[in-house]
Amino acid sequence: MKIINMPSFGADMAKGEVAHWNVKAGDTVKKGDIIASIETMKGLIDMEVFDDGTIEKLLVDEGIELSVGQPIAEFRLANEPSLDNTAQAAVSHAPEKQQPEKKQPETETSERPEFAAQPVIKIPIIQKSETFSGEANTAKISPAARQKAKELGIDWRLITHGQGPDGAIVLADIERTASAEPNKHGINDPMRQAIAAVVSRSKQQIPHYYLQLDMVVDGAQHWLTKHNQSLPSEQRILLNAIIYTAIAHALKSFPEFNGFYLDGKFAAAESVHLGNVINLRQGGLVVAAIHNAESLGCEQMMIKLKDQVIRAREGGLRMSEMQDATVTVSNLGERGCDTIQSIIFSPQVAIIGIGRQRTVPWVVDSNVTSASIVSITLAADHRVSDGHSGARLLNKINQLLQKPERLICTRNHSKNRSAN
């Protein structure tokens, strides 16, 4: 038994309709007989049968539109099985379209366009968070300049006005800032000039106010020594890591200290990208952001700090790390000094300084004893916050510092632990 299908008369013929049957069930026909006329978009075309045989059954009435390849009649070849060999059979049974074999790459040579529903590619709309967390300034920079800046480890963002068209930063700007001997100290060291540009702008534009709170760290130090006792030096945690973690977790609840002040408006940042000031061995500093610090435990914070120091000193910091800190922490290390009154890195709105750990006389219940303390200072932008909330932030840090065991684990989701 063979099926006769709606024939294709041209590449652009997708559908056809039996306008008129010339035969009925039971009729015997000869090869080449016209058994129907097919209505196409170009008009009527005769449809011939390609073998001698008998029409078994008409499967579709006149006037019904079908797509090419749909069955329209059943046909029994004259001498079943006719002399045609497999080739004939191969062709006559349900004809699949001109498909390449499976292993062949899909080269669809049938020109009948597949109008199968095109998968609608849903372009994920990036939720532009209303709180500002992206590029600090929209300055233009040429690709060559950007490439050179990366090579020289210069944060081109610190260059306020390039000599290119409408202030675009070009190669000359980068080379000018790097024109001095790179490793020679001195005021025209490009790093120095870049830092000079930032700190002078911050000092002039940002109305700083300063607060300080001395925090007892004996508890934390004791917990640390017990924690590190059995660990190889590689996994030991330093006190700083605990302090950074406390600061990051506290800042989560004080958005007015974590974000950017731009064009007269403050935008709080979505998460805490804690800027870690790293002093480079040959002088100068780089600020590397620890992303989403509010969700890190102190173990992870320690790993991040070590990793960033190593990469900073080997020039391996990524551009993104050097650009998107939302608040900064500065510390001068064990041999630093008691307190640091820092300058805010514009366009951020706060900077926290960590003095060196030191032992001082300390009054407890009117008895004088000794205690190991660290002075934590806050310099903040008075346009955005006031001393009252600054003090509450410092106290929150102190309170978290007294319970180091709570800071150990990585918080899976900072949202559900909104403090205060």
Binding site: S142, P143, A144, A145, R146, Q163, G164, A168, V170, L171
Partner: protein
């Protein structure tokens, strides 16, 4: 102008014109290989519309220097057929303007048959055409369509700009088993240079650095080379060191030389007598943007003809075509980012 070339080979002369160089090239190739013949309008008795084939008919006879009737499709198609048939024809289409009548034979037969026949047919054919404006021949006789031909896979496109290239590129094209189209800018025929030798002409696929420089790459071809070198000289006096790249081969493009230059100078200006839209200059700027993006210190720029039919009056024709002053100004703007030079 030294017009007649003695036909003996031991002739030495101090200088050679572009036209004489091409004539020598044809003469030399026909002596070397009897499969080579020249067919085209007025190439025989008349000696060639631009006098390139002057005297060749007397030397080789009308069977090998064949005057063709005004049947561009006919004799260009015949050239394709003869090439398939085992000859090495040089078909001279008087100018690119007339080649429009033979585009079907060039694109659908010459460029396509090798690939479409599954590699069975080879078409070792050379088609030479004059091109470009500057002789006040008005719109229909002043076209620059190198970009049309350089768009077609299956043919190669050459633009000899110097007398040395005119002298030695033809033999390379004839040796190539695939169809090669050679554009000869009408303003070059009278150029005269010292007698070139084979090592004054690099491989036909290679671009050439005609002047080294460090601050900007001026990329050009054919008839625009002269004005680009002139502009580079003026820039030099104004303290700007420009590099000049002569493409020589428009398909396939020698992108290695172009990229090396742009990556060095960080800036690129393409000088192209074609109309800007869909021009070869556009193609080069796209390639530079794709492959040299990270070394660009200024946007790639083009200096092309104004998009109008080339007008007949001289002052208007000159206004349309890229000018030396414009090249200098554009280059200056790219190098100094628009500020006055300190």
């Amino acid at each position: 102008m030294n017009t007649d070339i003695q036909n003996n080979d031991n002739k030495t002369t101090e200088t050679l014109t572009y036209r004489e160089a091409m004539r020598l090239a044809i003469q030399e190739s026909m002596v070397a290989d009897e499969r080579v013949f020249l067919v085209g309008e007025d190439v025989g008795n008349y000696g060639g519309c631009y006098a390139v084939s002057k005297g060749l008919s007397e030397q080789f006879g009308p069977q090998r220097i064949i005057d063709a009737p005004l049947s561009e499709a006919g004799f260009v198609g015949a050239g394709v057929g003869a090439a398939i048939g085992g000859m090495r024809p040089i078909v001279e289409v008087m100018t690119v303007n007339f080649s429009l009548l033979a585009l079907d034979q060039i694109v659908n037969n010459a460029a396509t048959l090798r690939h479409m026949s599954g590699g069975q047919l080879s078409i070792p054919l050379v088609i030479r055409m004059a091109t470009g404006a500057g002789k006040q021949l008005a719109a229909q006789h002043s076209h620059s369509f190198e970009n049309w031909y350089a768009h077609v896979p299956g043919i190669k496109v050459l633009a000899p700009a110097t007398v040395a290239d005119a002298r030695y590129m033809l033999s390379m094209a004839l040796a190539d088993p695939d169809p090669v189209v050679i554009f000869e800018h009408v303003m070059l025929y009278n150029n005269s240079e010292p007698m070139p030798t084979t090592d004054d002409c690099a491989d036909m696929h290679k671009a050439q650095v005609r002047k080294t420089g460090s601050q900007i790459s001026l990329i050009t071809y054919g008839g625009s080379l002269g004005k680009t070198l002139e502009a580079a000289a003026i820039l030099e006096q104004q303290g700007i060191c420009a590099e000049v790249i002569d493409l020589r081969c428009l398909r396939p493009l020698d992108t290695a030389t172009v990229f090396a230059s742009v990556n060095k100078t960080k800036r690129v200006l393409v000088v192209d007598e074609g109309w800007r839209t869909g021009s070869l200059a556009g193609e080069i700027c796209a390639l530079v943007a794709e492959h040299c993006f990270w070394s660009l210190d200024a946007p790639p720029k083009r200096q092309c003809s104004i998009e109008v039919p080339i007008p007949y009056p001289r002052h208007l024709e000159q206004a349309v075509l890229p000018k030396v002053e414009q090249i200098v100004e554009s280059a200056m703007e790219l190098v100094t980012n628009g500020q006055a030079m300190s």
